[in-house]
């Protein structure tokens, strides 16, 4: 069991990072820390993808010295996926940060529990 983890240490690290991020996103009450957790979670996934795409002994998939043999290069698709994932993650973070600013301007706190209690004072109208 431990041996498998040691051999696949990159994937193990990725999943641990994912777990840390997930827990932070779920259980932290501070909004900024939640966002940091979300970014750690995404990073874990990207690390997983990047380590899966890498085959040791091979080069980046850019043709050098006219070598067109497939065996010489690594799989370029995971790198492409990571890139797309980073773009998605950045835009989501930007939107969340702007939401955070708006929430802070209104309630003057970043603690979600406090915000919830404050918002309870508003009546249930339309």
């Amino acid at each position: 069991m431990l041996e498998t983890l040691l051999v696949n240490y990159e994937e193990a690290a990725a999943i641990i990072l994912f777990g840390i991020g997930l827990t932070m996103l779920l259980f932290h009450r501070n909004l900024i820390k939640k966002l940091i957790g979300m970014n750690i979670m995404d990073t874990g996934t990207f690390l997983f993808l990047a380590s899966m795409g890498y085959i040791s002994g091979r080069k980046a998939p850019i043709i050098t010295n006219g070598v067109t043999n497939v065996e010489a290069y690594i799989n370029p698709v995971p790198a492409g996926l990571v890139l797309t994932g980073i773009v998605v993650s950045v835009s989501v973070t930007a939107v969340m940060l702007s939401l955070t600013i708006r929430l802070y301007r209104r309630y003057h706190t970043l603690n979600l529990d406090d915000v919830y209690i404050l918002s309870k004072h508003q009546t249930e109208d339309r």
Binding site: M38, R106, Y116, L118, E124
Partner: protein, 524 residues
């Protein structure tokens, strides 16, 4: 003929383009443009439906003509086209029916941006329906999450911001899990396109050791999407999200966005995993149980609410439970019932969210039951529409709700498993009684004469919340009196269309069932 094969791609690309275009238009122009554009899309999708129904087979559009394992694909069949067509009609009706409240809730300078969001949401919806590539599904799923967050926060009050933050946190959790599931599946199968993925999984399906990782990654993926669509233990974000948004947003979010996630999940089961392999996995049973729990607990939560919008929102949680129960029952009939219920719920719930603010409007802008008393007499058309929708939700024959409940019962009977039959029947019975309890209670309340405990304080608080825009609202009241007929038509036309669809699904359900079954045959 060959031109029609391009139409699914057009619906995605043109929607993205329209989104950009709307940023440059004025508010009202953007609205008319969006309405006309949605009609245009409806025509395009109708052609796709007609073409696939006539040829009796789905077609695949390869981007840039790169062949299967490398390129990105779009695939259109009867099922996809049916859903896309209904969803587009619902978006059209929601925009038209909620316009009156939109101009109040959204800052005047930002109205065109609202339509940018609507168009981007349409693009994401179309992409999620047509795509044949799981990673494209992920990207557009995130676009849909962002746009639906935007649709909520356009109404700038504290509660929507808080609701949006909670909604986003749960959705990001869901997206993260979905991404991890996709990555794991890609790692196991080596493909992102759904059909080659299914072929690889089919070869692995013989050995249980190879199926364990597949089951686990599929489980992660399922948890992700069920958080996003609001399956039972994850349904608590719904009332805030739907309750505080502007009516158009609430109607689109409840009827379309959550269904799009379910459809993507269903597509992954059917096309990535393969339905025979999926039926052997334990995930189906878990979905069945959670679906039933959702049906009951969603309804119980709905009974305890004092505001009509929150009640309707919790009833959404119950209806999502129905759909997952259908997937859990399995078999051709179970999947047909689940897909049919997606349509039924989308048609009914969108109209309910367009109706409740009209009842509130004549009750001092309050959605509380005590203030709503007699509102159906003050707003007659809204009262009738609410009554018809309630009857459909409860499951009275001739309405769509009855047909779908009947189909769930039939599919459980065909499942050849006494436990499934027993639990489905009991859940349907309990849920129908609970539905009747809270919907008919509301109907009786709004049809009871007199103004109940209507108080001005709720109205006042509403005005304070709006601040300066509250004054603008009063001024618009005078203008509105001149435009009463127009404003009434803005509600009556979408209401008539959606009620018509509801009755069509109820009275002539076999046409739709035939479409769905044909679609499912060509779906894998």
């Amino acid at each position: 003929m060959n031109m029609i094969r391009n139409f699914p791609l057009f619906t995605i690309v043109l929607s993205l383009f329209s989104g950009v275009l709307c940023t440059m238009l004025k508010g009202k122009t953007a609205k008319y443009y969006t309405l006309i554009y949605e009609c245009f899309l409806i025509v395009l999708v109708f052609f796709v439906l007609w073409y696939t129904y006539r040829t009796g087979d789905s077609f695949t559009y390869t981007m840039g003509e790169f062949p299967a394992p490398w390129g990105n694909e779009i695939r259109a069949g009867v099922l996809e086209a049916t859903l896309a067509l209904s969803f587009l009609i619902i978006i059209f009706c929601s925009v038209l029916g909620g316009w009156k409240f939109l101009v109040v809730d959204v800052d005047e300078t930002k109205v065109n941006l609202y339509f940018t969001l609507i168009n981007l949401l349409t693009a994401a919806l179309m992409a999620m329906i047509w795509t044949n590539d799981i990673f494209t599904g992920y990207v557009f799923l995130e676009i849909m999450t962002l746009t639906s967050c935007g649709l909520m926060i356009v109404r700038e009050i504290g509660r929507t911001t808080l609701a949006a933050v909670r909604y986003m946190i749960l959705n990001l959790l869901g997206s993260g899990l979905f991404l991890l599931g996709v990555v794991l599946l890609y790692d196991i199968t080596g493909h992102l396109l759904m059909v080659p993925m299914q072929e690889n999984i089919a070869t692995m399906a013989g050995t249980s050791a190879a199926m364990e990782p597949v089951t686990m990654s599929l489980g992660i993926l399922t948890i992700g999407l069920s958080i996003k669509s609001g399956l039972f233990p994850f349904h608590f974000w719904m009332p805030d999200t739907y309750g505080w948004s502007t009516p158009t947003s609430a109607s689109i979010l409840s009827s379309i966005v959550s269904k799009a996630y379910i459809f993507l999940l269903f597509k992954i089961y059917y096309r990535c995993i393969g339905i025979e392999v999926f039926e052997r996995l334990p995930i189906r049973k878990i979905l069945f149980i959670l679906g039933i729990l959702g049906m009951i607990f969603g309804s119980i939560s709905a009974i305890r609410k004092s505001s009509v919008n929150r009640m309707v929102a919790y009833s959404s949680a119950a209806q999502i439970g129905y759909i997952y129960m259908g997937i859990g029952i399995g078999g051709m009939m179970g999947y047909t019932a689940a897909m049919f219920h997606i349509l039924v719920h989308a048609v009914t719930k969108s109209l309910l969210f367009l109706t409740t603010p009209r009842l509130a409007e004549v009750s001092g802008d309050s959605l509380l039951f005590k203030n709503l008393q007699g509102s159906a007499h003050r707003a007659k058309d809204a009262g009738i529409v609410f009554l018809l929708c309630s009857l459909s939700m409860v499951g009275i024959p001739i309405f769509a709700g009855f047909s779908s409940k009947l189909m769930f019962a039939l599919s459980a009977a065909q499942a050849d498993n006494m436990k499934i039959l027993f639990f489905t029947m009991s859940a349907l019975a309990i849920s129908s009684v609970l539905n009747a309890l809270y919907f008919l209670r509301t109907v009786i309340r709004i049809y009871t004469e007199g103004r109940g405990g209507a108080d001005i304080s709720a109205h006042k608080l509403y005005e304070e919340e709006k601040g300066i825009r509250g004054v603008a609202y009063d001024m618009e009241d005078d203008e509105e009196e001149e435009e009463t007929t127009l404003s009434k038509m803005e509600f009556r036309i979408p209401a008539a269309i959606l009620i018509g669809m509801n009755l069509f699904l109820g009275l002539f359900s076999w046409y739709t069932v035939d479409l769905i079954q044909k679609g499912l045959e060509m779906f894998p």
